[in-house]
Symmetry: C2
Subunit: 426 residues, 2 copies
């Protein structure tokens, strides 16, 4: 049975934006009180938007497709509040570049989704995981991931600086795509780390990510994989593997067996010692870049949370030497990774350390993601597997830079295999 | 005689923002009709701003200091038009992070200064060089450089992706500072290249750059130079030296002689062959990053200039492989440069290929700057020298990353020596 809320299904049904909006409004009425994914949502505004889209002479490739937008991304007709007091009610009147592109393609912006403060903290927000309301949806793209998982948006935009897109994708059982750094403009997204900040995208279906890749102008590759048969897969534990819980280790073993069952060859890709300190380099770079990114907020917000002040005051005590060393390590790893990964069609790695943790105070642990963010490579998290608590566990597929389409394709093939296994054991 | 328009002089005089505003309004009335530095300027708005600043309980370090803002940088109370039709009258109600920080320090925003289209082209605008109205002020920060040179602003903000800050500094005989990449937030600046885009700053005095470094939270270094005596200076011709005109080669020889006369030791720093293709890598990276940066503009602007379309359509034909190679070369050069430059206290290099060219159609040649932009190192252009046409020629002082204060200090010492030479020959 096809998912009624994917772009593929909505397009095939030939619905008007207004019809889609009405369906969506009913769904949100049913689910939002529990999930609390939205920071701003106005059904009347949605109806107006839908009417305007239906009045267009030409229908774009995303005509009427409902897209949730993380509340650190500017939207010309809605507030952008960053989940922080200084920006309550702030309405800057311009769209972020990604929203501008999506609107040109006919997309309908559903509302603004809950973020952690400035998308720069693991302190939880109000959003709950649609699979189990006692658990976090992850963060910082909490509301975007939860909205897509709950069917309250077809697509949603998040951001990732550490693990803010891929971890919530895992926790919520949806697709998450962190593109190659800067292949989708980050203009109009709140800044934290210029080296790591990346627009992220959520969907319920790999085909929807393909559609987004078209809209954002990603070229098809000459040698696209056509299935899992014969695919050379490198499995990477990453230097933070010791943080993974048994649930994730078991899931990865299952995933490997399932991919091999479908004809892929999975072998371990062992990173050289150069990568041992990459997690620390990520921290140093975030603190360095957070220092300039949050300076203006600190100067204008006397009671700002101490974690922002700590960055601006350089409490880690970084020096020109230590910062150059951190950037240099990142630069060297990026080149080395290109070489190492060339031996595989795709790389697989966990999307998170665990199932979604119980409680809303913390959005969980990003340590499985930050290396990939710093390497600036494309990552697509595929849903399908479940852990011992019945919560989703994602598998990340990582391609080399500018080969996002490869990661999307493989994640699509893999998700079918992974979810069929769950159906069989259910 | 001290320059009446520097922040140092204005601060020492203890003037109110209103007094400064009135002086400035008179100056602009006299000069603007010829120089045409502003895209937006409203004397009444300036008076209101000054009044509000004077009503503040505490005076910030930049109380009433008049700052011009390039028209690709968001200002909450003025239009931001990017010198392009789509944004005529556009007034996003937020400040760029840098403007937000400057306002917190008490700065007065004079107006928006002329940029080339999206700060991404060398097609000239309406602004004229205050030293010779028949010549370009350079670009893309045309209005900012011209406004400071003409005394219509004490400080001005520009941006640099190729040579958009340092080249105009040279052409207009003022100080230009391109900070270490991302040490001043680029949030709220129009994007072109995330790897190269850098906020730039202009002043009439090195002490004003020191003041700005304080405001933007740059740490003092442990081993700051105290003068030119004994300073080890590396002179770099860069791989694009063959584009320099005789005027600049002569000026560099003069500068070397003057620095040596003041007790510095200048020796040639020869870059290894690794750097031979860095100019090409800069072009590839700009086209790659321009592709995503201008996608939304292209999708929403049917009659956009072909040079933006060319980027979005990837007419250079870059591939994943060619792009990875370009980024890798840049990454490797960055590390190599840190090592090479460690043998010197400071590096010097031309700020431009020539004096400001005659005519307003082109803003000149950025080829002396793009390598440094891609290396993400701090550059300060010091004024003082003049060419055979009597136009200013700047000398760039380059430090290693995060050592901006060193470049500012040396440029300050050097400018005194360079300008004294001109006075002697005059």
């Amino acid at each position: 049975m096809s998912d009624p809320m994917t772009a593929t299904t909505l397009r095939a049904a030939g619905l008007s934006a207004t019809q889609i909006a009405e369906t969506l409004i009913s769904l949100i009425e049913t689910r939002e009180a529990e999930v609390r994914a939205f920071a701003h949502y106005d059904p009347d505004q949605l109806r107006l938007q839908a009417g305007a889209l239906d009045a267009r002479r030409e229908r774009g490739p995303l005509h009427g497709i409902p897209i949730g937008v993380k509340d650190v991304i500017l939207t010309r007709d809605m507030p952008t509040e960053h989940n922080t007091a200084r920006y309550l009610g702030s309405r800057p009147g311009i769209d972020a570049a990604c929203v501008d592109t999506l609107r040109a393609a006919g997309a309908m912006i559903v509302g603004k989704t809950v973020t952690t403060e400035f998308a720069a903290t693991a302190r939880g927000g109000k959003t709950r995981n649609p699979h189990d309301l006692s658990r976090t949806p992850g963060g910082s793209s909490s509301g975007s991931a939860a909205a897509v998982a709950a069917g309250m948006a077809t697509i949603a935009l998040g951001t990732q600086t550490g693990g803010s897109t891929i971890r919530p994708a895992s926790y919520n059982g949806i697709f998450g795509w962190k593109p190659t750094w800067n292949t989708i403009s980050r203009e109009g997204l709140k800044m934290y780390s210029a080296t790591c900040d990346t627009l992220g995208l959520y969907s319920r279906d790999a085909a929807d990510l393909e559609l987004l890749a078209d809209v954002f102008g990603f070229d098809l590759l000459a040698d696209m994989p056509t299935g899992l048969e014969g695919l050379k897969v490198g499995f990477v534990r990453t230097p933070t593997w010791d943080r993974t819980e048994t649930s994730v280790r078991t899931a990865m073993s299952e995933a490997i067996a399932l991919l091999e069952g479908a004809g892929a060859t999975v072998s371990e890709l062992v990173l050289p010692p150069l990568f041992d300190d990459i997690h620390e380099a990520h921290k140093a770079i975030l603190d360095c870049e957070g220092r300039s990114a949050f300076l203006s907020e600190v100067r204008n917000t006397p009671d700002i949370h101490d974690e922002f002040l700590a960055k601006v005051e350089n409490r880690r005590g970084e020096t020109p030497e230590s910062l150059r060393a951190a950037y240099r390590l990142a630069d060297e790893c990026r080149g080395a990774y290109d070489d190492i990964a060339a031996g595989f069609d795709i790389v697989m790695t966990p999307s998170a350390t665990s199932e979604a943790p119980v409680g809303l105070d913390s959005t969980g642990d990003a340590s499985m993601n930050s290396m990939w963010t710093l390497l600036q490579v494309p990552v697509v998290s595929a849903p399908g597997l479940k852990g011992p608590s019945g919560m989703p566990i994602g598998v990340s597929f990582v391609a080399r830079r500018y080969e996002d389409r490869r990661a999307i394709a493989v994640a699509g093939f893999a998700a079918k295999v992974l979810s069929s296994a769950v159906l069989e054991t259910a």
